[in-house]
């Protein structure tokens, strides 16, 4: 089902063209570029989380 005509707000907000995304194709291109940039950073953050959890099993607080 398409959401072509489903708008949260009335027609005045129906503009698809934005300074950010010229079209839906442009959006997908931007999004894919964006995720290719952030993915390695997010993976490194996952590693930090794993190592933090390992460290949390050692120190004892009393």
């Amino acid at each position: 089902m398409s959401n072509e005509n489903n708008l949260v707000l009335p027609e005045q907000y129906a503009h698809r063209v934005t300074p950010f995304f010229a079209s839906q194709e442009d959006f997908y291109k931007n999004r894919d570029e964006f995720y290719s940039k952030v993915k390695p950073e997010l993976e490194e953050l996952n590693e930090k989380r794993r190592r933090s959890e390992e460290a949390a099993q050692i120190k004892r607080y009393r």
């Binding site: 089902m1 959401n3 489903n6 708008l7 949260v8 707000l9 005045q12 907000y13 129906a14 503009h15 698809r16 063209v17 934005t18 300074p19 950010f20 995304f21 839906q24 959006f27 931007n30 999004r31 894919d32 964006f34 995720y35 940039k37 952030v38 993915k39 950073e41 997010l42 953050l45 930090k48 989380r49 190592r51 933090s52 959890e53 460290a55 949390a56 099993q57 050692i58 120190k59 004892r60 607080y61 009393r62």
Partner: protein, 468 residues
């Protein structure tokens, strides 16, 4: 002056003759010199001493632990009620008593650490420039019901509970007082929870690891995250601050000790900053070895035990189970998104402020915050938002430090995985508002733009913490 000295309920007004020493005499056998010194730091003019008080938390550890000893302490406690002015003790009257009520301290017969469940108003302490997580309790004294707002405190008894259980108790009592869907947890419940994740004996308390505390919280329905300073380095405190700004009390790991961060200290007088974290000066903590509302800043002399911010080696944030996006993931996503928008020619204010909140609270506040921006207000009121959202407010440093206002925000669905391909739910920048219409309809991304948005600064969102 002392009234009804030999009764169950006595009233002491501090004057030339009577002082904290009179209160201590009435509490004979319940306090060591060290505890007396702690209480004497609290400046109040009058105290009601309620003897033979049955405290639900102490009775819980008494039943499970203290009663099993050959020499047992009494099962009863003393409750001290503090007032900020002299009250009409003979004629209890709710309005007069409540206006002067500053909270209670329960004394347990567990020497040397006898300060039990405590809830005091933060106004009793010098906390100018601080923002705190607070909850409310209703207290009944002499038939008078009074509301009191503060952060729960308890000291360890060194037998059944040590600092780890005390800190967990403070954290959990805050949640059960503030949110009806968290049930009240007692000290022995914590011991039972930790028993299922054993690392040595549970009683007498030998201390807990941060992971054991996280496991206990997980069993109670939280989804805690753990941060180690060695991993996050310069960003370590920035993420702790972001969670604190979101209204989550934190467990802070110090050398051999754990305390609860219950708020932050900020100084907005310094100009030229690029993040709200740059104004951060320290945490307000509940350290079970001291009094509530202690400071932990860059300055060791601010803390009675000489801890400073560099003493924090780890922290735990008790997130709700529906929050799948962490602070550091959101920080990475929003930083990259702002770069992308800037490269695309958009005007991006330089100062960022990050926090997590509920979509419901954000919309509730939208009504008043976006009064001069009808398009934005209308959008936030009508557009469905997820249960939890990460928000990055943007502002100019001068606007932020002088009037605590912002000029836009990026909103991200906190119930999404960081790796979900998504560019945020709403991007509101000066003169532009882009939103994902698809998310509103539970469909694939479909970004739309709302035109005619003006650049008018508005109040930063503030719902999570109380300014003191």
């Amino acid at each position: 002056m002392i009234k009804d000295e030999t009764s169950i309920l006595s009233y002491v007004v501090f004057d030339e003759i009577d002082s904290w020493e009179t209160v201590f005499r009435l509490c004979s056998g319940f306090l060591t010199d060290c505890s007396k010194k702690r209480l004497q730091q609290i400046n109040v003019p009058s105290v009601i001493v309620e003897k033979q008080y049955i405290d639900k938390d102490y009775r819980n550890t008494f039943s499970k632990f203290h009663s099993k000893k050959f020499v047992t302490p009494t099962a009863r406690c003393i409750r001290l009620h503090l007032f900020t002015k002299d009250i009409d003790f003979e004629n209890p009257e709710t309005i007069q008593w409540e206006s002067a009520y500053a909270g209670y301290i329960i004394l347990r017969p567990t020497l040397p650490n006898s300060i039990g469940r405590t809830l005091l108003k933060p106004d009793l302490f010098n906390l100018k420039g601080s923002y705190l997580c607070l909850c409310t309790e209703k207290v009944m004294v002499n038939g008078v019901g009074m509301k009191i707002q503060g952060f729960p405190f308890i000291s360890q008894d060194t037998d059944a509970t040590v600092c780890a259980q005390s800190s967990l108790w403070m954290l959990l009592r805050f949640f059960s007082n503030r949110y009806r869907w968290y049930k009240e947890t007692y000290p022995s419940d914590l011991t039972s929870l930790v028993k299922s994740h054993p690392q040595g004996r549970s009683m007498p308390g030998a201390g807990l690891t941060m992971m054991q505390m996280a496991d206990a919280l997980r069993d109670l329905g939280f989804a805690p995250l753990l941060y180690d300073k060695n991993e996050y380095k310069v960003d370590f405190l920035k993420f702790a601050y972001a969670y604190m700004e979101s209204g989550f009390p934190l467990l802070l790991g110090l050398p051999q000790h754990v305390v609860v961060a219950i708020g932050h200290l900020s100084d907005f007088s310094a100009p030229g900053k690029v993040s709200s974290f740059d104004y951060f000066k320290g945490f307000i903590i509940n350290d079970d070895n001291g009094l509530p509302y202690a400071k932990l800043s860059d300055n060791k002399s601010d803390n009675i035990f000489s801890y400073d911010l560099s003493s924090i080696d780890s922290f735990l944030v008790p997130l709700p189970d529906k929050v799948f996006l962490s602070a550091e993931q959101f920080d990475t996503l929003v930083t990259q998104l702002l770069k992308l928008l800037q490269n695309d020619g958009n005007k991006i204010p330089v100062l960022k402020r990050m926090f997590l909140t509920t979509g419901r609270s954000f919309r509730k506040k939208a009504l008043e915050r976006y009064g001069h921006l009808p398009e934005v207000r209308s959008f936030y009121l009508k557009n469905p938002l997820p249960h939890f959202i990460w928000v990055c407010e943007v502002s100019e440093p001068d606007i932020y430090s002088k009037s605590l206002q912002c000029t836009g925000e990026i909103i991200w669905d906190a119930t999404r995985n960081a790796f979900d391909s998504h560019l945020g739910l709403a991007i509101h920048l000066p003169e532009v508002l882009i939103f994902d219409n698809g998310a509103a309809w539970n469909m694939r991304e479909d970004y739309r733009q709302i035109e005619g948005v003006k650049e008018i600064p508005y109040k930063i969102y503030n719902n999570n913490l109380e300014e003191v």
